[in-house]
Amino acid sequence: MHVLDFEKPIAELEGKIEELRHLAGGDVNIADEVGRLQAKVDKLLRSTYAKLTPWQKTQVARHPERPHALDYIRALIEDFTPLAGDRCFGEDRAIVGGLGRFRGSTVMVIGNEKGSDTESRLKHNFGMAKPEGYRKARRLMEMAGRFGVPVLTLVDTAGAYPGVDAEARGQAEAIARSIEACLDIRVPLISVVIGEGGSGGAIALAAGNAVLMLEHAIYSVISPEGCASILWRSGEAAKDAAEALRLTAQDLHKLGVIDQVVPEPLGGAHRNPDLTFKTLSLAIDSALRDLAGVEGGVLRARRREKFLQMGRTGPV
């Protein structure tokens, strides 16, 4: 497993346990020692993860082994049927989407996919979408609206792709229209920030009736590095920028920007993906139940009113 800097003491202990097991072979006498070390690991994980700094959370949110959109889709969605293309220009694999069943009911799932190894990262352009990705998202949201199917978005992107071709095809307009679609559809829209919620590329999929965020996910107007290089004129200040931006799920919940923080397993989603899937499944189910039976026009009006008030209520 990829070890983050602040996880090194934990990894060392885990290494010791491995070593002990390896040396002892079938010897049962080491059980006590292993148990003692494991207890130490758990204690250290608990204390470390209970007080992660915003910068550490940024690292966890970007952990290469953290589950990505397709992992959640595989775990939570049956009969997933991917749909492709924006019908204008092309198919952008940085945004995956399609129909499937969540706990028996049809949903439209749309998510940023970062990829999990070199090949898939390239295929999904590291989760950085181009206009065709946002236009596909819009198309799928509108389709869901026509069929009365709830939409589930899984947000995990460093941001929209900053490239010449993306600009040439109207990146700004594509994002704006995707936000507009989020705010326009007459079906429930549940958005979950599963990893990194990066700027306009994230809000394009995240203007939902309910916005959930995993415990160690981040969501920000700009990356800490980007903010540091502009305001501190040094990328080194990313740590300070992460603090100042208030990008953690806990801070965003306090600010009233998100509706719910979904707990992660001890040591983060990457240490126990199955438990993460289970917890999130329950949270999504409950969010969908809250909106079940609400008339489409009301769903839309409530969603719009919620975003119309953002910031109006003043500081927390």
Binding site: P162, E167, A168, V221, L252, G311
Partner: protein, 306 residues
């Protein structure tokens, strides 16, 4: 609605503006390098008479230039919380705000005004680039929302004039949320059947371009204005792509199908007046056409064919 009654005449603003110091009598054109006498520049609406370069225009001048007889009423915007995140980089955000307010005499980066254009009542929200680069925080969002609400209330078209580098970083996620917020606001104007026109000026980038600024019924851009999502420097440094000639300029966007027209400043008012008139005074044929669409079975012969 006290914000409706409070207004400032443009003439009054002119009086309180600081006197021009002698070295400001001449201005160098950033495009061609010619020295331009300030009166000539003012007369030409800040357009260089040598090369046609459009220099930035102050909000006050912009509004004067657009409204009939230069007359408009400014709307006092509802107060929003300063510094909702208690943000501090190398400087406190509250100090940056104080400086920007002292420099511009404005509360934040957007000015909302109403008045007539070609005799048609309109609401305008114009950005002040001098205030923190026209960046969008909660106060700017409030300005757009207020302008949109006023347009609906007055049954008037809405014209928004962005000049903004994008989000106000110091307001973090709340600034990002203004993208969704302003989108709802302008959608409400459009749903009322009111024209929503965006006049894109230099620069319109980032979160501002990726929300209300790209949602206009009609998008007009000033010549050579930089319009785009990602900053050119970001594209160069992160993707290491070579930028094509004229990249993210108004003419480039016109060519790519992202704006309806590029209009020189001198022709802006006439263009807007004509568009407003076409959309608002449609004449008998125009009015008739919209009626049957709302009526069921408006085209019985069509349904018979089905």
């Amino acid at each position: 609605m006290n914000w409706l009654t409070n207004y400032v005449r443009p003439k009054l603003q002119a009086l309180v503006r600081p006197k021009e110091v002698p070295e400001n009598l001449w201005r160098k054109c950033p495009a061609c390098g010619h020295m331009i006498f300030h009166r000539d520049l003012e007369k030409a609406l800040n357009v260089c008479q040598h090369c046609g370069h459009h220099l930035r225009l102050s909000v006050g001048k912009r509004l004067e230039m657009l409204f009939d007889d230069g007359k408009f009423q400014r709307i006092e915007l509802p107060k929003t919380a300063d510094d909702p995140l208690k943000f501090k980089d190398q400087k406190r955000y509250t100090d940056r705000l104080k400086e920007a307010r002292a420099k511009t005499g404005e509360q934040d980066a957007v000015v909302v005004a109403h008045g007539k254009m070609g005799g048609i009542g309109i609401v305008v929200a114009a950005f002040n680039f001098d205030f923190q680069g026209g960046s969008m925080g909660v106060a700017v969002g409030e300005g757009i929302v207020t302008a949109a609400e006023l347009a609906v209330l007055q049954d008037a078209p809405l014209i928004v004039i962005p000049a903004s580098g994008g989000a106000r970083m110091q307001e973090g996620i709340l600034s990002l949320m203004q993208m969704a917020r302003t989108t709802v606001a302008v959608e409400r104007v459009k749903e009322k059947g009111l024209p929503y026109i965006v006049l894109l000026t230099d620069p319109t980038t980032g979160g501002v371009s990726a929300s209300f600024a790209m949602l206009g019924d009609i998008a007009i851009a000033e010549p050579a204005a930089v319009i785009g999502f990602a900053g050119a420097r970001v594209i160069e440094t992160t993707i290491r792509e070579k930028l094509p000639e004229g990249f993210q300029r108004a003419e480039y966007l016109l060519d790519k199908g992202m704006v309806d027209m590029v209009v020189p400043r001198a022709e802006l008012r006439a263009t807007l007046v004509r568009l407003l008139s076409l959309l608002r005074n449609r004449g008998p044929a125009g009015d008739l056409l919209t009626l049957p669409l709302d009526t069921p079975d408006a085209f019985p012969e069509d349904s018979a064919r089905l």
